[in-house]
């Protein structure tokens, strides 16, 4: 197998007495869609925050193409090629849809503040390129008609897609999606799977995805890891994971506590 794009090695995070993530290891291969599932409170989002640099790990390592990147700042990680969305949506709500993308495109291409101040040809060219890319992304994600709207006024499904567009605008190699289907209606959930597959193709992405909607992940992912109480209890293809007795127990509970937690 080729060198993994992202490798998580024995990663842990402790919040006081709670071990939210307990020595979790897995690797995401280039081009792969890797799913992360688990019951509520299993530590999925914490693990995401550790990988994307918004929370510092208590132990373990994160490797990017074999190089350690543990504990680096989120902006540096983004510039390496790792972009994320947020479970609770963190758009720039006061800015327009188009401006949300332009913010994310500010390094593609780069232009200096002096160029901008003087309005040089280089600055105008860079701005045109940014606008072109932004419009392409808006069209790709079906947001073009909303370009001038303030992000804070969008419908929920549109906001989710804008977050994905904004993350894509930073030209990542790895896209981290934190519950992209949360709050979507069934039709939108179906479209989401197709959208993610299409985006992987067109942008040569690897995707690491947290999701509660298990059928979506079973269809979409090449491999899955299952977390329960911060521990990785299973890893493998959707078929392997589905049959794993530990997974069934975590989701359905063992005999005495049947039906405790639904997937």
């Amino acid at each position: 197998m080729s060198k993994p794009l992202l490798e998580v090695r024995e990663l842990s995070r402790r919040f006081g007495g709670l071990l939210a993530v307990d020595r979790v290891s897995f690797a995401v291969q280039p081009g792969e869609i890797f799913g992360l599932i688990g019951p509520n409170g299993a530590g999925k989002t914490t693990l995401f925050n550790l990988i994307s640099g918004t929370t510092a790990p208590s132990g373990g390592a994160v490797l990017w193409q074999g190089t350690p990147i543990t504990g680096q700042a989120p902006d540096r990680l983004n510039r390496l090629g790792l972009a994320r969305t947020f479970q609770n949506l963190r758009l720039f709500e006061g800015l327009s849809v188009l401006e949300n993308l332009l913010v994310a495109l500010q390094r593609h291409p780069r232009s200096s503040a002096l160029d901008g101040l003087l309005g040089t040809a280089r600055h105008r060219r860079a701005e045109r390129q940014r606008l072109d890319t932004a419009w392409q992304l808006l069209q790709e994600l079906g947001l073009a008609a909303l370009a001038e709207r303030r992000a804070g006024t969008l419908a929920y499904g549109d906001r989710r897609r804008l977050e994905m567009a904004r993350a894509l605008a930073t030209r990542p190699q790895l896209l981290l999606l934190d519950e992209p289907a949360a709050g979507l209606n069934p039709a939108e959930k179906d479209q989401l799977g197709e959208l993610i597959s299409a985006l992987r193709q067109r942008h040569q992405l690897s995707v690491l995805i947290i999701e509660h909607h298990v059928p979506l992940l079973m269809r979409l992912c090449d491999r899955l890891a299952v977390l329960d109480f911060g521990v990785r209890i299973a890893l493998g293809s959707p078929e392997q994971v589905r049959r794993d007795p530990k997974v069934i127990e975590a989701y359905l509970g063992s005999g005495s506590n049947a039906g405790g937690r639904a997937p």
Binding site: A83, F92, L95, V103, A113, G116
Partner: protein, 296 residues
């Protein structure tokens, strides 16, 4: 009713309003503007009274070129100070940043009051005048304001300005989009300082005397009121706020110290009556449409 002297004061008010606005546009509530204003003013007062190469005469005149040089040096020194201090204080957020910047204002005020060469409580007086009358200062103040306004306008269509707006909306999300938020906040802070420093250099000549009271906590609150009243969503807001609030107490001079109460009332009532200030994006959009219709 508004003479040239008051007009210059109003323009200086607008410039200081812009200086408070710049960090605020990146979501940073800095009250350090008077500190940088004092740095520029003190530097200009010292240079023009002590450094004969600037060409100050016994009659108290100063070549125009020397004024321009002082504006540059005042801005530069204030900018350098902001670069040093900013690295430290911009780690703080919200009200803690505001308190740290108030401390900076106080430190500089006490330093200027006690340094052996800044004239103590009396300050520096007899500062040479590049212009014979107050009317002469209108043009340079207007030019400085036009330059600052133009720069703020350009900022909105530039990566730096957009990054500032993004940080104001959601700093963590901005970081996750690859924006070096520390650098962007520092840039806004330094720009604010340069503007305040140059304004101070101009004000020192206009006022003819300069002392530690020019850069005090009162000025922090006054300049903040400019932005609160005018609005912080467009650079035009603090300009309008600065012009209005500087003119008002002068026009109400007969009522005396009540003007301080007035500022307090504006800070209190402003957010209640006009939460976004006088100049809001909605108002600008309406004006834009109106302008288009008139052109037709």
């Amino acid at each position: 009713m508004i003479d040239n002297g008051l007009l210059v004061q109003m323009l200086i008010g607008a410039l200081l309003g812009l200086s408070v606005y710049l960090p605020l546009a990146a979501g940073q509530l800095s009250l350090a503007t008077p500190a940088f204003y004092a740095v520029g003013g003190t530097l200009a007062a010292l240079l023009s009274t002590r450094w004969s190469a600037l060409g100050a005469t016994a009659a108290g005149t100063l070549p125009l070129g020397s004024l321009v040089l002082e504006l540059l040096l005042g801005g530069l020194l204030a900018g350098l100070l902001a670069l040093l201090v900013g690295r430290l204080v911009l780690r703080l957020q919200g009200i803690y940043l505001a308190i740290a910047t108030i401390a900076l204002v106080e430190i500089l005020r006490v330093a200027i009051l006690n340094l052996p060469f800044t004239g103590g409580a009396v300050g520096i007086f007899g500062i040479p005048q590049p212009f014979a009358t107050a009317a002469g200062y209108v043009l340079p103040a207007l030019a400085l304001l036009a330059l600052a306004g133009w720069w703020c306008q350009r900022l909105e269509g530039m990566p730096l300005g957009r990054a500032m707006a993004a940080i104001r909306d959601d700093e963590l999300a901005a970081r996750c989009m690859g924006i070096d938020t520390t650098n962007v906040k520092l840039s806004a802070f330094v720009l604010s300082a340069v503007l305040a420093g140059s304004t101070g250099a101009l004000a020192a000549h206009f006022l003819n005397t300069w002392n530690a009271r020019q850069g005090s906590f009162d000025v922090s609150i006054t300049t903040l009121a400019f932005v609160v009243l005018g609005g912080s969503r467009s650079w035009l807001g603090p300009v309008v706020g600065g012009l209005l609030l500087t003119a008002l107490p002068e026009l109400l001079r007969p009522v005396g110290d009540v003007r301080l109460v007035l500022f307090g009332l504006v800070i209190l009532l402003g957010p209640v009556l006009a939460p976004q200030g006088l100049i809001t994006p909605a108002l600008l959009a309406r004006l834009g449409r109106w302008g288009e219709e008139k052109e037709r």
